[in-house]
C-alpha cells in the first residue's frame, strides 16, 4: 500500500543550522505514527515539510501521493499545530466553521459535522463562547477538532498534548484512537515517551535530523531495548543486572547470600533511545 508520507534522504538547513540531515521516513496508511525525539531533533521541521510550509533543500518528499503544495492534497491533510492556532475572539463554532470553509466543506455539510465534533471533544455546551475564555485543555481539544473539520485522510499533530491537564490528555488520546478506528492515518510528533508507547502503532526515533530507527514500540524494544533489568536488594546494598535469563541469575545470586527484595523491569523505550543515541532522553 502506498505510504501516506514518504521522505527520502531529505535535507534542510536554516543558515548555519542543519535541521534535517538526510532524513528518510515512510508513514503507512491507516496507522498512528509517532515522531519521537527530544527538542531540536528535527520533528517540527519534518512536519513543516510534510505540510508544504517549507521546501527541502535536497531529497524526495511525497504526501498522499503528491506534493503537499497542491491544494487538492492539502484538502486531504489536517493539522493541529503545537501552538493553539485559533482565533480567541471567535467562538468554538465560528473557529470550526472558518476552517471548514477554508477546507472546502460546503456550509450544509459543515454544520452537522461541526456539531458532531463539538460533542466529540466535549465542547458542545460552550460552543458559543469566545475561545479565549477556554482552559488550556479545552483549547487544545478544539485545536485538534479544527484539524478534523474538513474530514482529512491524514492528520498531523505537532505535540498534541503539550501543556494540557491529565483529563484533556486522556480525551485527546481517546480521540486519536477513534481516528485510527475510522481508518485515518495519524502522524504526531512528541517528546513524551509515554505518549508514543500508548498511542503509536509505529514509532520513528529522530535525533540530529535523522531517523535512527522505525518500528512498533514492541519491535523497537526487542531490537534495541536490551535485556530485562533485575534489581536485587540485600541487607546492606542493592545490585542491578541486565540479563536475558533473569530466573537463572536470581537463583545464582540467592545462593551467594540472602535477598531481601528483588524487581524485574522489562526493557523500556527510554532504554531504546539511550542505546540508539548514547544519551538520556531528557538531555
Amino acid at each position: 500500500m502506498t505510504p501516506v508520507v514518504l521522505l527520502r534522504d531529505v535535507s534542510k538547513r536554516f543558515g548555519a543550522v542543519t535541521a534535517l540531515a538526510g532524513l528518510s521516513l515512510e508513514v503507512p496508511r491507516g496507522l498512528v505514527f509517532a515522531l519521537l525525539g527530544p527538542n531540536g531533533a528535527g520533528k517540527t521541521t519534518t512536519i513543516r515539510l510534510i505540510l508544504g510550509l517549507i521546501s527541502p533543500d535536497a531529497g524526495e518528499l511525497e504526501v498522499l501521493g503528491g506534493s503537499p503544495r497542491d491544494p487538492a492534497i492539502r484538502r486531504r491533510i489536517g493539522l493541529a499545530p503545537q501552538t493553539i492556532a485559533l482565533y480567541g475572539e471567535l467562538s468554538a463554532r465560528e473557529n470550526l466553521a472558518l476552517f471548514a470553509a477554508l477546507g472546502g466543506v460546503p456550509a450544509r455539510v459543515a454544520a452537522p459535522r461541526i456539531e458532531a465534533l463539538l460533542a466529540r471533544t466535549g465542547l458542545a455546551e460552550r460552543a458559543r463562547e469566545p475561545v479565549a475564555r477556554f482552559s488550556g485543555g479545552m483549547q487544545r481539544r478544539l485545536n485538534l477538532a479544527a484539524a478534523l473539520v474538513h474530514d482529512p485522510e491524514l492528520i498531523v499533530l505537532d505535540e498534541p498534548t503539550a501543556g494540557v491537564d491529565p483529563q484533556s490528555r486522556e480525551a485527546i488520546f481517546e480521540l486519536i484512537r477513534e481516528l485510527r478506528r475510522e481508518g485515518r492515518s495519524v502522524l504526531f510528533s512528541t517528546h513524551y515517551l509515554e505518549e508514543a508507547e500508548r498511542l503509536a502503532d509505529r514509532v520513528a526515533i529522530v535525533d540530529h535530523g535523522r531517523v535512527l530507527a522505525v518500528d512498533s514500540v514492541g519491535g523497537l524494544i526487542e531490537r534495541y531495548g536490551g535485556p530485562p533489568r533485575l534489581t536485587v536488594e540485600r541487607e546492606d546494598a542493592s545490585e542491578v543486572h541486565e540479563t536475558a535469563e533473569p530466573l537463572a541469575l536470581l537463583l545464582e545470586l540467592a545462593a551467594k547470600g540472602p535477598i531481601r527484595r528483588f524487581r524485574l523491569d522489562p526493557p523500556r523505550l527510554d532504554q531504546v533511545f539511550l542505546r540508539l543515541t548514547g544519551r538520556d532522553f531528557r538531555d
Binding site: L51, G52, Y87, L90, L102, G103, G104, P130
Partner: protein, 424 residues
C-alpha cells in the same frame, strides 16, 4: 460561489468579526475619530456661524452726531455692542469678555460735525492685546460709520449750516483762484443738499446721499474655489483620516497576532493559497475602512456635514481605503513583534499625517512643509474627501487625487505582498 471565493469570503468575515469583537479596535476606528470631529468642530467654531464680535462703547459726549455714530455701529450685525462707562469697559477688557472698547470723549460730536476742516474727530480704541485682528475689524467699522455719519450730517439743515460755515471760512482763507472756486462749489453743494428729501428719522438723506465711492463685497475663497460650510466640514474629513488610520492599526494588530499565535501558518496549511489569504485580508481591510468612513459620514449629517455628491464621496472613500490598505500590507511586514510593527507604523504615519493635513489643515502649514505634502497619501485622501464634501471638485478635478491614491495603493500593496510572499 467558487471555492477560492468562498474561502476569501470566509477570511473576510473572520477579519470583520475579529475587529467587531475588539473594543480597542472599534474605539480607535470609530470612537476616537468621532471624538476628534466633535471636539475640533466645536473648538473651531462649530456650525461656522460665529457669534457677533463683543465690543463696548463708552459714550462720554452728548452731541447728536456722537449718539448717531454709536447707534450706527449698534445696528451692525457683526457687532454685539454694549454701552458701558469707562471703568466697566476696562474691567470687561481685562476679563477678556470684550475684544475692544471705543471711547467717544467729550467734544467728539462737535469735532465730527466740522470734520471737513481742521483736526479730525478722535475716538480712543482700547483693545485686548490677544485680539488684534478683531480690534482692527472694529476700527474699520468705526471709520466707515464715522464717514457715513459725517456725510449724512451735511444733508440735515441744522448741522449742514454749521458744517458749511466752517468749510466756507476755510475757503476764504485760501488765496486766489482755488479759494474762489471752492466758495462756488460750496454754494452749489448747499443748494444740492437743500434740495434732497430727508429720511423719516431726519438722520440721513435719500437719493444716494451720502455718496459711497467704494463698496466691498466680502466672500471667503479657498484655493479650489469653495469654502467649508462649517468647522465640522473640516473636522469630520480629518476624522475620516483618523478612521482610516484606526482601521489600519486594528488590522495590523490582527496580522501580527496571527503570526505570533500560529494562525497565519495554520491558514497556510489549508487549501487556501497565500494569494487567497491576502485577498481576504485586503478585502476585509478595505471593507472595514469604507464602513468606518460611512459611519463617520453618517455621524456628520446632524452637524450639517453633507457631501455635495455621494458618488464622489464613495469614490474618495474607496481611493483612501485602497491607499491605506496598501500601507497596511507593507507595515504588516515591518517587524515580528507588535511593538516593532506599531512603532514603525506610527513613525511613518505621523509625519505623513503632519505634512498631509491630517493633523493641521494644509492651509495653516508653513509654505516649505505644504510643498512636500504631495508625497503624503494623507493629503490626497483629505483632498479627495473634501472635494466630495465642499470643494466642489468635478470628476475631472477629482481624478488626479483618486489616481494618486489608486497608484499609491497598488504600489504599496504590491510591495507588501512581495514581502509577505518572501517571508512565506
Amino acid at each position: 460561489m467558487t471555492d477560492p471565493l468562498r474561502r476569501a469570503a470566509a477570511l473576510v468575515a473572520k477579519d470583520l468579526r475579529l475587529w467587531a469583537r475588539s473594543p480597542a479596535s472599534v474605539f480607535f476606528t470609530l470612537g476616537w475619530p468621532l471624538a476628534i470631529a466633535f471636539f475640533f468642530g466645536l473648538v473651531f467654531g462649530g456650525g461656522g456661524r460665529q457669534g457677533p464680535l463683543p465690543v463696548a462703547v463708552v459714550l462720554e459726549d452728548a452731541h447728536p452726531l456722537a449718539e448717531r455714530l454709536v447707534a450706527s455701529i449698534e445696528r451692525h450685525p457683526a457687532l454685539a455692542v454694549r454701552r458701558l462707562d469707562r471703568a466697566a469697559a476696562e474691567a470687561e477688557l481685562r476679563r477678556g469678555r470684550i475684544a475692544a472698547a471705543a471711547i467717544l470723549p467729550p467734544g467728539f460730536g462737535a469735532r465730527l460735525a466740522q470734520s471737513f476742516r481742521g483736526e479730525p474727530a478722535t475716538l480712543r480704541l482700547l483693545r485686548d492685546p490677544a485680539r488684534t485682528a478683531e480690534a482692527l475689524v472694529l476700527e474699520g467699522l468705526l471709520t466707515e460709520a464715522g464717514f457715513r455719519v459725517a456725510f449724512a450730517s451735511l444733508a440735515e439743515a441744522g448741522s449742514r449750516e454749521e458744517a458749511l460755515a466752517a468749510l466756507r471760512a476755510g475757503a476764504r482763507e485760501l488765496p486766489g483762484e482755488p479759494g474762489l472756486r471752492l466758495t462756488e462749489f460750496l454754494a452749489a453743494l448747499e443748494r444740492l443738499l437743500s434740495a434732497l428729501p430727508a429720511d423719516a428719522d431726519g438722520t440721513a438723506a435719500a437719493a444716494g446721499w451720502p455718496p459711497r465711492p467704494l463698496a466691498i463685497a466680502t466672500e471667503a475663497f479657498s484655493a479650489e474655489g469653495r469654502r467649508p460650510p462649517s468647522a465640522f466640514a473640516v473636522s469630520f474629513v480629518q476624522a475620516m483620516f483618523w478612521a482610516l488610520l484606526g482601521a489600519m492599526m486594528s488590522v495590523l494588530s490582527e496580522l501580527v497576532r496571527e503570526r505570533i499565535t500560529g494562525t497565519w501558518e495554520r491558514l497556510r496549511t489549508t487549501p487556501a493559497s497565500v494569494a487567497e489569504i491576502l485577498l481576504g485580508k485586503g478585502v476585509a481591510t478595505m471593507a472595514l475602512m469604507i464602513a468606518a468612513l460611512g459611519v463617520v459620514a453618517l455621524a456628520g449629517l446632524p452637524f450639517g456635514v453633507r457631501p455635495e455628491d455621494p458618488l464622489k464621496l464613495l469614490a474618495a472613500a474607496a481611493g483612501g481605503a485602497i491607499a491605506f490598505t496598501g500601507l497596511t500590507l507593507v507595515f504588516g511586514t515591518a517587524g515580528e513583534s507588535m511593538q516593532a510593527v506599531h512603532g514603525t507604523t506610527w513613525a511613518v504615519m505621523l509625519p505623513l499625517a503632519m505634512v498631509g493635513g491630517g493633523m493641521v489643515p494644509l492651509m495653516l502649514l508653513p509654505e516649505w512643509l505644504a510643498g512636500i505634502s504631495d508625497l503624503s497619501p494623507v493629503k490626497w485622501t483629505i483632498l479627495a474627501l473634501e472635494g466630495a464634501y465642499w470643494r466642489g471638485l468635478g470628476w475631472s478635478e477629482l481624478a488626479p487625487a483618486l489616481g494618486v491614491l489608486l497608484l499609491f495603493g497598488v504600489a504599496t500593496a504590491g510591495l507588501g505582498i512581495v514581502r509577505i510572499l518572501r517571508r512565506s
